[in-house]
């Protein structure tokens, strides 16, 4: 069943059937109710998630203001790459804001596979880089505050 999900997801295109079968063996499906935390900032990051259904908010907690939502992720989005990079701790909280179904892939196992197989490693990292690139562009757009009356212009007034 997990194999079918992986085959349909664009992130796993070009992986061969053996690789998909192997990854599927290290997957599990998780269900969360509205308000439940999937992971918390600072805790060990050991999983890679596909959002199958629902909506997840990535949040940071501010003592004065409570949880601040940075971004939401929904159907078919990928979530969590902190398991790939030292110190392997989550940087944000992830909370289900609707009933949510996730596919979780075992991070340490996946890490071993992509290190052992450079071709798979390249494919995997280039896909992760594409997602990071898209999210970086989106974050830049958010930072520009384009809908405000006076959009943020960090270089305004500077003579170059």
């Amino acid at each position: 069943m997990f194999e079918e999900i992986l085959v349909r997801h664009p992130f796993f295109h070009q992986l061969n059937p053996d690789q998909l079968r192997e990854i599927a063996l290290h997957c599990e499906q998780l269900n969360y109710e509205t308000g439940e935390y999937i992971f918390k900032e600072g805790k060990k990051a050991d999983r890679f998630f596909l959002v199958l259904h629902g909506q997840v908010a990535l949040e940071i907690h501010d003592p004065g203001r409570g949880p601040l939502i940075i971004q939401t992720l929904c159907d078919e989005d990928l979530m969590g790459w902190s398991w790939l990079f030292s110190p392997n701790r989550w940087h944000f909280d992830a909370r289900a804001v609707k009933p949510t179904r996730l596919l979780a892939i075992e991070g340490s196992w996946l890490h071993e596979q992509i290190e052992a197989d450079p071709k798979l490693g390249y494919l995997f990292m280039s896909r992760v880089a594409q997602i990071m690139f898209d999210r970086l562009q989106a974050t830049r757009l958010q930072l520009m505050d384009i809908y405000s009356k006076e959009p943020a212009q960090p270089m305004r007034g500077r003579k170059l």
Binding site: A57, L68, Q71, T72, E76, L141, I146, K149, P151
Partner: protein, 283 residues
């Protein structure tokens, strides 16, 4: 439908109703001036009027009402300068001046024979100029069977037409996806992220879709990139441009943009017609 255009001499229109949409944006419902086509102000979705305050001046404001209801003239105005602040401070019963309607609107006639899917992408106060087109699409299901609205705003408070968005989401056949750039600690449970993220999350056939896009110019650029990435051809994308428009009749030249005058040739353009000019900073 015969449309009478008030080109050079403004006429007075009485303000019937003022509704606050967000902290600085209001929807103003004016009585169609009785002197125009017997009190019926016909317009095409996407056209704008020069709306003014006597003695102060006038500004171009897109018409945000229903083209099927020409007896009421509806504009949604964000208070960003002296004139728009004066317009939004006007009380019901008082009069504003109107000239128009001006410009080329959304391609509601061209899309009839072509695409079967419509995707509307709006950012901030880019939704009001698109609302007349949305009304038209929803009123003609046989011609426009699949309609999707993707709407992004700065924060939940700045969303315009909140009540209508809820109605469209719950009770219309249009798919509506809304996102905000910043949720803060507002208790917002919807999506957070830029409107361009939504384009990757909806399914459509790039060969059958027509996209209508309106919002701040930076948002337009990123949206166009995203639509092209999804395989939508430039001839199937329409954008509404904004420049300093004064006369509305291409005489004054304030809004000249390459070979075009936004007030007359636009504000809505087919993207393949303006693609070469779109990223030029010098014009």
């Amino acid at each position: 439908m015969s449309a009478e255009v008030v080109v050079n001499v403004p006429v007075q229109a009485r303000l019937l109703e003022k509704r606050r949409e967000s902290p600085d944006t209001f929807t103003l419902t004016l009585e169609s001036p009785p002197s125009i086509s017997g009190g019926k102000f016909f317009f095409a979705p996407g056209q704008f009027n020069m709306l003014g305050v006597p003695g102060l001046g006038e500004v171009p404001i897109s018409i945000s009402g229903d083209p099927a209801n020409p007896k009421k003239l509806v504009h949604t105005v964000r208070a960003v300068g002296n004139i728009t602040e004066a317009i939004t401070a006007t009380h019901p019963g008082a009069c504003l001046t109107v000239r128009g309607p001006f410009g080329a609107g959304w391609p509601v006639d061209q899309t009839r024979t072509g695409s079967k899917e419509i995707i509307v992408v709006a950012g901030g106060v880019g939704l009001p100029p698109l609302r007349p087109a949305i009304y038209h699409f929803l009123a003609n299901p046989a011609l426009y069977p699949v309609v999707t609205l993707l709407y992004g705003a700065r924060n939940p408070l700045d969303l315009v037409f909140k009540r209508e968005l809820e109605q469209w989401t719950k009770r219309s056949r249009m798919r509506v996806e809304i996102t905000v750039d910043r949720a803060g600690s507002s208790g917002w449970l919807g999506r957070v992220g830029v409107v361009t993220n939504l384009i990757g999350q909806v399914k459509f056939n790039p060969d059958r879709v027509t996209a209508l896009v309106c919002g701040p110019e930076i948002m337009l650029r990123y949206t166009l990139m995203e639509l092209e990435k999804r395989g939508v051809g430039p001839a199937n994308i329409y954008v509404s441009m904004e420049r300093n428009m004064q006369c509305g009749t291409r005489f004054c030249g304030h809004c000249q943009w390459g070979p075009y005058f936004i007030c007359k040739d636009g504000p809505v353009f087919r993207y393949d017609h303006i693609k070469d000019w779109f990223s030029l900073q010098e014009i």
